[in-house]
Symmetry: C2
DNA sequence: TAGGTGTATGGTAGCGCTAACATGTGAGGG
DNA sequence: CCCTCACATGTTAGCGCTACCATACACCTA
C-alpha cells in the first residue's frame, strides 16, 4: 500500500471516494455482482466472491449505506426516543434494544426527549426523515401529531415501558398501576399503616400517575386512609430524595413508611435518615422503584420494584425484527412482561 | 383531510410516499424550488415559500434525508463511540454533544463499545458507511485500523476524555495523569501516608493506567513508599467497590486512605465502611473520581475529582461544527479542559 | 440603446447503490 | 437434438434529492 493517495481528479460531482464501480473494475466483474457478493453472498460463486473481497481489501472500500438505503428503500435503522439517557432507568432498555438490533445488522438512532412530549414529537419528525425501518417510543401517551405521522409513514412502532388498551401498533412493558399497587400492598402487609408516596414529575406524567393510582387503590383496599403524596421535580438526582423525605415529613408527620417512584429518590431519603440517625425501617420504612445496582448495597438494603428493563428493550427490538422478516405480531399486540417486588431490609 | 389514503398505484420501484415532486406539482413550482424553499429559504420569494409550505402541510410531506444526503454528500450525522452508555460517567458528555449538534441540525449516531477497542473499530467501520460528517471517539488509543480508515474517509475526528501528543485530528479532554497525581497529592497533603489505589479495568486500559501513573508519581514525590494498587473488573457496579476495599485491605492492611478510579467504587467502599462501623475518614479516608450526583450526598460526602463531562461533549461537537462551517481548529489541536479536586468530608 | 448586475426560477444530470429484468451457460430429461 | 431449468452474471433504469448551469426578467449605468 505504497500509493494510497491516488485521488482521481474528481470530475463532476464525484466525491473522490472508492465506489462499488472501482471494486467492480479491479475485480473484473460488474457492479451488481459486487453488490451481491456483499448482500447475498450465496448468490455468487465462491471464486467471484474471493476476487471481490480481494479488491475490497486492496482499495479499502467501505460501502455507502446511504446510497444503498435509497436504492433498496431499506435503511437498516431503528429509531428510538427515550425520556432520558441520563438516568440509570432506561439504560438497560436501550442496551437491550441496541444489542438485539446490532446482531441483525440494524443500527439504533437514539433520541432523548427530556420527558417532553413536544420534544418527542419533534424527534419523531426528525427521525422519520431518515426513513427508519422501525420506531420505538417510551410510554403510551404522545402528542396527537405523532400518531398521524406514524400512520402515514407506515413504519412498525413499538411503545415500551407501559401497557395500553390502544397501542399505536405494538407495546412491550408492564403495568405501572399494578406496580404501584403491589408495592403499597407489600408495605401494608408488613404492617405499615401511614404510607407516604413521592413521585418524580419527570418520570413522565402518565407512568408516574399510574403508579400513584395503584398506590391509592391499595390504600383504599387495605383501608389505610387518604393518600399522603407529594410530587418532586427533577427526580433524577439523589439530593431530591433527601428533600422529598423532608417535605413528606413536614406535610405528613405521622408517616411510618415512604414509597418513592425511583430508587434514586429512595437512596437520597435513606441518606437523610442516616443523617438524622433514624433506624430504617424501624423509625420509617423506605421503598424505591427500579432496582438499580445501588439498591442491593445500601445499608439497609433497599426494598424496591424490579423492572425487566433489558428484556423490554430486547423484546421490542425482536418484535420489530420479526416484522422486518415479514411476520411478527399483529397491530394491537400488547406484551406484559410484569415486574417483581424485591423485599429487602428497608421496608 | 378526508382522503389521506390516495395511495397512487406504485408503478415501478416508487415507494408510494409523498415526494418532493408531489409537493412541487401541487404548489405549481419545480422540485428544485421546493428544495430551496426548505434548505435555503432566503433564496426563494416569500410568496413561493408560502405556497410550498401550504402544499407540504396538505400532503404531510416529510423530506427524505437519505436521498438528500446522497445528492448533497452531506449526511448531517455525527457518529460517536463511547465505552459505555450505561454508567453515569459518559452520560454528560453524550448529552453535551447531542444538544450542541441538534441545535445546528445535526444528529448523533451513538455506539457503545463495551470498553473494547476491537468493538470500537467495528463500530467505526459500521458508522463510516453512513457517511457521517464527523466522528467522535472516546480515548486516544485505538486499533491501528481505525487511524487508517479514518484517514481514508477524510472525516473530521475528535477524540475526547484524554489528551494526546499525537491526535488523529483533534482532542478535547483533560490529563488523566495529572488527575491521578493531584488527588494523590491532596491525600498526601491531608496527612495520609499509606494510600491505596483501586482502578477499574473497564475504564479503558489507558485512561485508568494514566491515572495510576499519576498516583505513582505523587507517591514518589511525596516519598510515600511503593504503590498499593489493585485492579477491579466490571467497575461500574457499586458492589465492586465493597469488594475492592476488602481486597485492598487484605493485601495492604496498613492503608489509611483509598483512592478509587470511579465514584461508583468509592461509594461502594463507603458502604462497606458503614457496615464495619468504621468512621470515615478517621479510620480510613475514601476518595473517588467523577463527581457523580451521589458524591455530594453520601455520609460523609465524597472527596472526588470533578470532570467537565458536559463541556467536553459540547466542545467536541463545537469543533466539528466549526469544521463543517469551513473553519475550525487545525489538525493536531489539543484542548485541555482540566479537572478539579473536590475536597469533601471523606478524605 | 447596449451592456452589466442581481434576483427568482427551472432543466438536466448525476450522487452510489440495488430491483427488476435480461442473458448466457451447462446439466439433465425426453 | 432440442427443451427445460437452475445458476451465475450482466444491463438498464431508477430511488428522491440537490449541484450546477442556464434562463428570464427587472433594474441600473454609461
Amino acid at each position: 500500500m505504497t500509493d494510497d493517495s491516488i485521488d482521481r481528479p474528481s470530475r463532476g460531482r464525484a466525491t473522490g471516494r472508492v465506489t462499488m464501480a472501482d471494486v467492480a473494475a479491479l475485480s473484473g466483474v460488474s457492479a451488481i455482482t459486487v453488490s451481491r457478493a456483499l448482500r447475498h453472498p450465496d448468490k455468487v460463486s465462491p471464486e467471484t466472491r474471493a476476487k471481490v473481497q480481494a479488491a475490497i481489501d486492496t482499495l479499502g472500500y467501505v460501502p455507502d449505506l446511504v446510497a444503498g438505503s435509497l436504492a433498496s428503500n431499506q435503511s437498516h435503522i431503528v429509531a428510538a426516543v427515550v425520556p432520558t439517557i441520563g438516568g440509570t432507568i432506561f439504560v438497560d432498555t436501550v442496551k437491550g434494544m441496541a444489542d438485539a438490533l446490532r446482531e441483525q445488522g440494524y443500527q439504533l438512532l437514539l433520541g432523548d426527549s427530556g420527558y417532553s412530549l413536544v420534544e418527542e414529537a419533534a424527534l419523531v419528525d426528525a427521525f422519520l426523515g431518515r426513513r427508519p425501518n422501525g420506531l420505538i417510543l417510551t410510554g403510551v401517551h404522545h402528542e396527537p401529531s405523532v400518531r398521524t405521522r406514524l400512520a402515514a409513514a407506515k413504519v412498525p412502532v413499538v411503545e415500551v415501558w407501559d401497557v395500553s388498551d390502544r397501542p399505536i401498533d405494538m407495546v412491550v412493558g408492564f403495568s405501572n398501576f399494578r406496580a404501584g399497587y403491589e408495592m403499597t400492598a407489600h408495605l401494608a402487609r408488613r404492617g405499615y399503616r401511614k404510607i407516604g408516596f413521592a413521585a418524580g414529575l419527570t418520570f413522565g406524567d402518565q407512568r408516574s400517575t399510574e403508579r400513584r393510582r395503584g398506590y391509592r387503590t391499595a390504600l383504599e383496599e387495605f383501608d389505610l386512609g387518604p393518600e399522603r403524596a407529594l410530587e418532586v421535580p427533577e427526580a433524577a438526582e439523589f439530593g431530591r430524595g433527601r428533600e422529598a423525605l423532608v417535605a413528606l415529613l413536614a406535610r405528613y408527620p405521622d408517616i411510618d413508611a415512604a414509597f418513592f417512584s425511583s430508587d434514586v429518590l429512595a437512596v437520597g431519603a435513606l441518606f437523610e435518615c442516616q443523617r438524622r440517625g433514624w433506624p430504617v425501617p424501624d423509625r420509617i420504612a423506605i421503598a424505591g422503584f427500579g432496582d438499580f445496582g445501588i439498591a442491593a448495597e445500601t445499608i439497609p438494603a433497599l426494598t424496591t420494584v424490579r423492572i425487566p428493563g433489558r428484556e423490554i428493550g430486547q423484546r421490542a427490538a425482536g418484535m420489530l425484527l420479526d416484522r422486518f422478516a415479514g411476520g411478527g405480531a399483529e397491530p394491537g399486540t400488547v406484551l406484559d412482561l410484569g415486574f417483581e417486588v424485591v423485599a429487602r431490609a428497608s421496608a
